[in-house]
C-alpha cells in the first residue's frame, strides 16, 4: 500500500543502518528516548534494536496511555461500571489494567456490563441503540485520541443524546516530558518525537526541548525505516552540532498540526490543574477534563466515584521503567511474577508497554546475552 510498503524495505534499512554507523563518534555512548509506545512496539516488532550499534541505546519513554493510568482511576472506572443500568465502554487494553483489587475484565466477569469498543463513536452508537441505559465511555489517550472523544461529544450534543457520558483520562505529552527532562537521574542525547500526537498538535509544542534543554527532537513515523531514519537524523544533528526540532514524518505531520482537531479539542476540553501519572506522580496541567460547556457529559459528575489514590505495588518498578532509569528486564518481577498473562504493572499490560514489548520480542535475545 502507498505510504506503507516503501517504509518497510529491508535493503534501505541496511543502508540506513550503515549511515547510522558512519555518523557515530568513536567511544561515545548515545541514549535516545522514543516517547511513544507505538515506537517501542515497532522497534521490537521489526528488530530495529538489533540493527543499531551497541553504543546507541534506545530508552523507552512514558508514551503508552494505558501504562500511565494510575490504579485509583481504574477503581473509579470499575465503580461507574458497577452502577445499575450502566453499559461501560472502553478500549481493549484498558480491560486488563489492574486496579487496587480488580480489572475491568474482572468486573465484567462479576456481572458488570463492560464492552470493548474500537472508537468512542461506537460507544455513542451503543447509547443511541439503548436509550433506557446509561452508556459511559472511559476515555484514555494522548492528543492523538482526544480529538475522537471531542468529536463524539459534539455529535452527542448535536443529536441530543442524554444517556451518554465520559470518564475523561486524556493526557497531554509535553508536561511529562518536561518533568522527565528535569529529572536528575536522566541522561539523554535526543528524542524520537511522537508522530501521531504531532499529527494533531504539530511540531511547535516540542520546540522547548532544544531551546530549554539542548536536546534534538526528530518527529518520527512508525514504520521501521521511519524509526531508523529518525535515529540517523538525531545522530546527524549531534555530529553537526545542531539542536532543533526536525520532522521526519512529513507525509502526515504539518508543522502547525491539525487545526480543526485542535479547535474541537479547545471547545470540549480544558486542562486539569493536576493529574497523577503512574510512576511519575502528580504533574500539573498534564491532563484534560470536560469544559464547562460539556460538563453535562462528565461521568464523574453523573456518578459517584471513590476518587481514592492507590499506591503502586511495591514490587513493580514501572516508574523507573517509564523514566528510562532501568530497562524492563532489570525489574525484579519482570517475566517471573509479572507477565502479560498476569501483569502487576501496566507496562506489561499493553502490547505497546515497554515491558510487554521486551517480553514478547526481546526476552530470548536477552537470555542468550546473559549466557
Amino acid at each position: 500500500m502507498k505510504f506503507v510498503d516503501e517504509f518497510r524495505n529491508a535493503q534501505l534499512g541496511q543502508v540506513l543502518a550503515g549511515e547510522i554507523l558512519a555518523e557515530l563518534e568513536p567511544g561515545r555512548q548515545y541514549k535516545v528516548m522514543e516517547v511513544c509506545g507505538g515506537h517501542t512496539h515497532s522497534i521490537y516488532k521489526y528488530g530495529i534494536d538489533d540493527l543499531l550499534p551497541a553504543n546507541v541505546e534506545l530508552v523507552h519513554g512514558p508514551g503508552c496511555p494505558v501504562c500511565v493510568i494510575p490504579m485509583g482511576r481504574v477503581d473509579d472506572g470499575i465503580a461507574v461500571a458497577r452502577h445499575e443500568g450502566v453499559i461501560f465502554t472502553c478500549f481493549g487494553d484498558m480491560l486488563r489494567v489492574p486496579g487496587s483489587e480488580y480489572t475491568l475484565l474482572d468486573a465484567k466477569a462479576q456481572g458488570a456490563d463492560v464492552r470493548m469498543v474500537y472508537s468512542p463513536l461506537d460507544a455513542l452508537r451503543i447509547a443511541r441503540e439503548n436509550p433506557d441505559r446509561e452508556v459511559v465511555f472511559f476515555a484514555i489517550g494522548f492528543e492523538t485520541t482526544a480529538p475522537s472523544t471531542a468529536l463524539t461529544l459534539k455529535r452527542a450534543r448535536a443529536e441530543g443524546i442524554c444517556n451518554f457520558s465520559c470518564v475523561c483520562n486524556h493526557v497531554t505529552i509535553v508536561p511529562p516530558l518536561r518533568a522527565l527532562l528535569e529529572s536528575p537521574d536522566l541522561r539523554l542525547d535526543g528524542f524520537i518525537g511522537p508522530g501521531h500526537v504531532c499529527t494533531v498538535v504539530g511540531a511547535r509544542p516540542f520546540e522547548f526541548i532544544p531551546a530549554d534543554y539542548g536536546r534534538p527532537v526528530v518527529i518520527s513515523g512508525f514504520e521501521p525505516l521511519d524509526v531508523l531514519q529518525s535515529i540517523l537524523m538525531i545522530l546527524r544533528q549531534l555530529s553537526q552540532g545542531r539542536c532543533e526540532v526536525e520532522n521526519q514524518y512529513t507525509r502526515v505531520v504539518p508543522y502547525e498540526g491539525n487545526l480543526r482537531a485542535l479547535e474541537v479539542m479547545a471547545e470540549v476540553f480544558e486542562l486539569r490543574p493536576h493529574f497523577e501519572w503512574r510512576g511519575l506522580g502528580f504533574i500539573s496541567q498534564s491532563a484534560l477534563k470536560l469544559s464547562e460547556a460539556y460538563r453535562e457529559f462528565d461521568a464523574e459528575e453523573r456518578f459517584s466515584v471513590p476518587g481514592v489514590r492507590v499506591a503502586d505495588p511495591k514490587a513493580c518498578q514501572c516508574g523507573e521503567v517509564l523514566k528510562g532509569v532501568i530497562k524492563p528486564w532489570e525489574c525484579k518481577v519482570f517475566g517471573t511474577a509479572c507477565t502479560p498473562e498476569h501483569a502487576i504493572g501496566t507496562c506489561m499490560v499493553s502490547p505497546e508497554g515497554a515491558c510487554a514489548a521486551y517480553y514478547n520480542y526481546g526476552r530470548l535475545t536477552r537470555a542468550q546475552e546473559a549466557v
Binding site: S119, Q229, E352
Partner: protein
C-alpha cells in the same frame, strides 16, 4: 471493529498504541467515508477533522476518526 486488532488477551490495540492506520478512501458519504486498510478491510471513518477528501486519497485513521491527510513524502533513505 476488527476484534483481532484490539484483542484484550493477545491482540494489538491500535488505540492504546497511539497508532494511526493509513487507509484509502473508497466511498464518500455525508460525514463519513468508507476506507480500506492495507489488508483491504473496509472501515467507516469520520472525516469531520480533515479537510476535503476525495475517493482515492490516503488518510491517517485513529479510533475510527481521520486525523490526517497524507501527502507525498521525501524518498526514504535520501540525504536531506
Amino acid at each position: 471493529m476488527k476484534p483481532e486488532r484490539c484483542d484484550p488477551v493477545t491482540g494489538h490495540c491500535i488505540t492504546c498504541g497511539d497508532e494511526g492506520i493509513v487507509m484509502r478512501v473508497i466511498e464518500l458519504r455525508d460525514d463519513e467515508a468508507v476506507c480500506a486498510d492495507e489488508l483491504r478491510t473496509r472501515h467507516r471513518v469520520a472525516i469531520d477533522l480533515v479537510g476535503p477528501v476525495a475517493v482515492g486519497d490516503e488518510v491517517l485513521v485513529h479510533a475510527g476518526v481521520a486525523i490526517g491527510h497524507l501527502r507525498a513524502a521525501a524518498i526514504v533513505g535520501a540525504r536531506e
